[in-house]
Point group: C2
Chain length 213, copies 2
Amino acid sequence: MLHDLQQSYGGLFEKALIEEINQVGTFKEVPEGFLLIDFGQYIRSMPLLVSGAIKVLREDQQGNELLLYFLEEGDTCAMTLNCCLGQTQSEIRAVAEMDTKLIMIPIQKMEEWTGKYRSWRNFVFESYHNRLMEMLESIDSIAFLRMDERLLKYLHEKIAVNHNAILHTTHKEIAYDLHTSRVVISRLLKTLENNGAIKLHRNNIEVLGTDQN
Amino acid sequence: MLHDLQQSYGGLFEKALIEEINQVGTFKEVPEGFLLIDFGQYIRSMPLLVSGAIKVLREDQQGNELLLYFLEEGDTCAMTLNCCLGQTQSEIRAVAEMDTKLIMIPIQKMEEWTGKYRSWRNFVFESYHNRLMEMLESIDSIAFLRMDERLLKYLHEKIAVNHNAILHTTHKEIAYDLHTSRVVISRLLKTLENNGAIKLHRNNIEVLGTDQN
DNA sequence: TTGGATGGGTAACTCAAGTTACACGCAATT
DNA sequence: AATTGCGTGTAACTTGAGTTACCCATCCAA
């Protein structure tokens, strides 16, 4: 774990903090699709992402989902920070987008460290900042873009976190993430294919014209 | 200013911090409609709200707006926090919803105080928390509600911050805030009136069935 | 008092997106 | 080989909301 820690957070945290994390943190490895946090759950520890990616989702009253953003290496879950501090329930669902490695920090340490380590404080502030920016991005997409534009953006985000221009997913799952119906996604994907932006296959989508090809 | 400070933040901050704020902060009083921050501006000070309310907006590429949330007494602008720390430009526009009193803190103090005062740290964290929750609320509304529901919710939020069930506003302004067109708002308002939820007058809307009546 | 600006009402049309329904192929299981 | 479930394609219809156009009323300044 120490190696992973130094790899991902060595440049960010001072030595003493790295050591503390190494002592009180627990290493966790979860497979793709693993449900890390669900709505209404109380959170007892805070995740630091070492590798992989996490999908953060919101749910409406009918149980339909909406993707908020992805977390990647070096990120932490700001919503978790919130819940820890406020002792409130989780407002979001977090699912492993791929096989993912994390270090879990007991929440008691959080408060302690914010007083003790300047680098930790800055890290927490920066996490909040990043999450707010991602929420803004998300609002922009939902409020200002048409579904076809949102879809294309989604595909490119997904490529970025997966480092692979071939997305192993289904139309149904995309529809869940974008809070629409499968039929709509199939229709729009077909149009994108006709425009030469992507190629459709069973269970995967090849996105053309990206750096990952 | 000291009086206002103690009124709004006395229970929150320790004495020493209140005194520091009193020394370095500058009191500011702005009229309704005053543009406090605009997109792209660099921010040199951070506002603490003493009384009144502030409307925080996002803009799309065509220059159309979208209301994100309101700030009230005891709040601060988390987006400002962000911008101060990151030295980046403002991502939002902030407009006084009514005559508003603020205390402006030079941003250099922010960093200093987060190390020095626990109450300040908690205040900043809590502000971030509140803003994230409001962004979530905002996303819920945009993504999950129909325009008529969003409109009704908007009216009630507006009543809450104005402490008055008669809203002095125009259909056009509501349309801006909800990122739609005046015609759509007029249509929906008329339906609400026919359902007995509101009464329409020139330049003001009376919302029925609230505590403020 | 007249003309312009602003606020609001309403009809008619367009379009993006959601819904329903059904067809077909692929893959795993029996 | 037959069954079942899943992933996808597509047509036909519905609906919420954006657009255009034109109406009238109020208010204010020239």
